[in-house]
C-alpha cells in the first residue's frame, strides 16, 4: 500500500487494515509523522510533536490488535488542537501567555480518545485563545491553507483543519465557540462537527466562553467524524454542564437513508452577504439531497441578523471572566521584576495576551461593568433566547436546517486583519447555532476556482445522528469529500 493510499484511507478502511494486520499502527504513525516533518514548515499547522510517545502508544495499540482486541479507533493516529490540556505536553492555546504551560492532567476528550486506543501525534496551531476566524492571531504565527498557501485556513481550529486537509492525520480535534470547527472545515474542504452543547465534556479545554464552547471531531468524512464523536461524547462528573444523555454509536446509525427528511432552507442565510458562487454550490449540494428523497422547505429564522451582535457581547463577557485567571502568579506568563502587585498583573497580562484577545477582554469587561450590565450583557442574553426560539419554532416543521458554513471561500492572509468587524462577519452563519446550543456540521460541497466550499447542516438538540446521516448520504452520492489539495503527498 502506497503512502498516498494510506493518507487517503478512511478510518473504517484503516481499522480493517489494522485489524487484519496488513499494516501496523507503528507504520501508520511513522507515515503520518513523516508527512508532518516533511511538509509542516510550509503550513505551520502543527506546533508540538509527540513522536516518541506516539510510537510507544502505537506499539501498545499493535499489541492490543494482535490479541484480536480493540475497537474502530485502536491504533489510529490523531492530532489535538492545542486548546486541549495534555498532561506533561505543553498546551499553549496559541498564546505567549501559555507558551511553556505543561498541564498536570489530560482533558476529558484526550482521556476518552486515548482510552479508545488513538495515538496522539502532536498539537495543532490555533487562533490565540480560540479568538479568530483566520488563524492569524496565533502567537506561533499564521497557519496557511494547503489549497492555496496565500490564503487563511479559517479559524480558530485552522491548524487542525489545515493539518487534516494536508494529510498530517486522519482525525483531528477542534473546538467551536462561534464557528471555529465549521468555518475552517469549510475553508479547508473537510468534514467537521460541532456537537450539541453539553454532548462533550469541557473539562481540560482551556475556557473561552463557557456557555458556548464545545469540542468536536474534524475528519475526511461524516462517517469518520461519527466514529470519533462516539468516543468523545458523554457525561463527565468534572463538567457540570455535560449532558446526562445516552451516547449512541453514531457510526452504526449511518444508513444513508434520507427518504422524506425535511430540510429547512432559511431565507436569511441566502442574503446579500453570501457570495453568489457559494450559493450556487450550496444549492447544488441541496439538490443532491433532494434527489435522494429529502424535501426542501423554505423557512425563516427572522432574528439571524442579531446573532453577531449578541455573540460579540456574550462571548467577550464570558471570556473576560475566564481570562481573569491569568494573573502571572499561579501559571502562565509573568513579567520581569514587577514593582508591586498591580504592576505584576498589568504587565504580565499585557505582555502575555495578543491584540485580539485584549480587545475582547476590554469589550467583555465593558459589557459587564457597573452601569452597562443591563444595557449589554442582560440585553444580549434576552436576544439569545429570542434567537434560540427561532430555531425551536423552525424545528417544529423540519428535521434539519441547511445553508452555507461561511459566506465565502478562503480569503488572502491579511485581508481582514485591520477590521475586527469584517472578520466577525465570517461567522455570520455559524454563531446562532452556538447561541442556541444546537449541533452543526460542515461538509465539503465542491470547489470554486480550486477553493473548497462547505455545506452547513444544523440539527435538533442531541440529534447529531440525523445531520451526520444526511452528510453521509451526500458523501455516498458525490465525491467532494475525496478532493485533495495539490499539496505535499497529494501533489499531482
Amino acid at each position: 500500500m502506497s503512502d498516498s493510499d494510506v493518507l487517503n484511507a478512511s478510518v473504517s478502511e484503516l481499522h480493517r487494515l489494522l485489524a487484519a494486520r496488513a499494516i501496523s499502527s507503528e507504520e501508520l504513525t511513522n507515515t503520518y509523522l513523516g508527512q508532518i516533518e516533511a511538509e509542516n514548515d510550509a503550513l505551520n499547522a502543527v506546533i508540538t510533536l509527540c513522536s516518541e510517545q506516539a510510537l510507544t502508544d502505537a506499539r501498545e495499540a499493535d499489541q492490543t490488535l494482535s490479541r484480536g482486541e480493540g475497537n474502530p479507533l485502536t491504533g489510529i493516529p490523531l492530532l489535538h488542537k492545542d486548546i486541549f490540556c495534555t498532561q506533561g505536553v505543553r498546551t499553549t492555546c496559541g498564546s505567549h501567555m501559555l507558551e511553556s504551560f505543561e498541564p498536570a492532567y489530560d482533558a476529558t476528550v484526550v482521556t476518552k480518545l486515548k482510552a479508545a486506543g488513538t495515538v496522539t501525534l502532536g498539537k495543532c496551531n490555533m487562533d490565540e485563545f480560540a479568538m479568530g476566524s483566520s488563524n492569524e492571531t496565533s502567537y506561533f504565527g499564521a497557519v496557511k491553507n494547503p489549497w492555496d498557501l496565500n490564503c487563511v485556513p479559517g479559524g480558530s481550529s485552522g491548524g487542525s483543519a489545515a493539518a487534516l486537509a494536508a494529510g498530517f492525520a486522519p482525525l483531528v480535534t477542534g473546538t467551536d465557540t462561534g464557528g471555529s470547527i465549521r468555518q475552517p472545515a469549510s475553508l479547508c474542504g473537510i468534514t467537521g462537527l460541532k456537537p450539541t452543547y453539553g454532548r462533550v465534556s469541557r473539562l481540560g479545554i482551556i475556557a473561552f466562553a463557557s456557555s458556548l464552547d464545545q469540542a468536536g471531531p474534524m475528519a475526511r468524512s461524516a462517517e469518520d467524524c461519527a466514529h470519533m464523536l462516539t468516543a468523545m461524547s458523554g457525561i463527565d462528573a468534572g463538567d457540570s454542564t455535560s449532558a446526562d444523555r445516552a451516547v449512541p454509536d453514531f457510526a452504526a446509525a449511518l444508513n444513508g437513508e434520507i427518504e422524506g427528511l425535511r430540510i429547512g432552507i432559511p431565507r436569511e442565510y441566502f442574503n446579500e452577504a453570501l457570495n453568489p458562487e457559494v450559493r450556487e454550490r450550496i444549492m447544488a449540494a441541496l439538490s443532491v439531497l433532494e434527489k435522494a428523497g429529502a424535501r426542501l422547505i423554505d423557512i425563516d429564522l427572522p432574528h439571524t441578523h442579531y446573532a453577531i451582535a449578541t455573540y460579540y457581547v456574550i462571548a467577550p463577557a464570558e471570556a473576560s471572566a475566564n481570562l481573569a485567571r491569568y494573573d502571572g502568579v499561579r501559571f502562565g506568563h509573568r513579567c520581569d521584576a514587577p514593582t508591586d502587585l498591580e504592576d505584576l498583573y498589568l504587565r504580565s497580562r499585557s505582555e502575555g495576551f495578543g491584540e485580539e484577545v485584549q480587545r475582547r477582554i476590554l469589550v467583555g469587561t465593558y459589557a459587564l461593568s457597573s452601569g452597562f450590565y443591563d444595557a449589554y450583557f442582560n440585553k444580549a442574553q434576552q436576544v439569545r433566547r429570542i434567537i434560540a426560539e427561532d430555531f425551536h419554532r423552525a424545528f417544529e416543521a423540519v428535521d434539519v436546517i441547511a445553508g452555507p458554513s461561511a459566506p465565502n471561500v478562503a480569503f488572502q492572509r491579511g485581508a481582514k486583519q485591520q477590521d475586527p468587524v469584517a472578520m466577525y462577519m465570517e461567522d455570520v452563519y455559524t454563531l446562532a447555532v452556538n447561541l442556541a446550543g444546537l449541533p452543526g456540521l460542515s461538509a465539503p460541497a465542491g470547489l470554486i476556482n480550486g477553493m473548497p466550499v462547505g455545506l452547513q447542516l444544523v440539527g435538533k438538540a442531541f440529534d447529531e445522528t440525523t445531520i451526520l446521516n444526511a452528510a453521509h448520504r451526500l458523501q455516498q452520492d458525490t465525491d467532494w469529500h475525496t478532493l485533495r489539495p495539490n499539496f505535499g503527498a497529494f501533489q499531482s
Partner: protein, 95 residues
C-alpha cells in the same frame, strides 16, 4: 455609542491591561467599531424575555460531598512561575 480614550483607560484598568499611550487612539477606534456593531441590540424589543445563560436552561447538578480527587498540589505548583516552599510568590503587598 462612541467611547473616549478616557473610557478605554478606565475599562483597561478594570481588566488589568495596560495600553500604551501611543496605541490608545487606535484601540479606541476599533473598540468603538465593535460597540457600534453590538448597539444593534437596542433595536429589538426584549420586554419580558427571560435572559438565557445556558442554551438548554440547565441548572447545576448536585453531587454528594465526598472526596473525588487526590491531592495534586505538587503537580499543580510546578506550573507556577515563581514559588518557594509550597507558596506562590508575589511582590510585597504589606509594608
Amino acid at each position: 455609542m462612541s467611547v473616549t480614550p478616557e473610557d478605554i483607560e478606565k475599562v483597561a484598568l478594570l481588566a488589568r491591561l495596560s495600553i500604551a499611550e501611543s496605541e490608545l487612539p487606535e484601540v479606541t477606534e476599533r473598540f468603538s467599531k465593535v460597540l457600534d456593531l453590538v448597539d444593534e441590540l437596542n433595536t429589538i424589543d426584549t420586554d419580558g424575555v427571560v435572559p438565557m445563560s445556558n442554551p438548554h436552561d440547565m441548572t447545576q447538578r448536585l453531587r454528594a460531598d465526598t472526596v473525588t480527587s487526590h491531592n495534586a498540589r505538587e503537580a499543580l505548583m510546578a506550573s507556577a512561575p515563581v514559588q518557594d516552599s509550597g507558596y506562590f510568590l508575589v511582590p510585597k503587598v504589606i509594608d
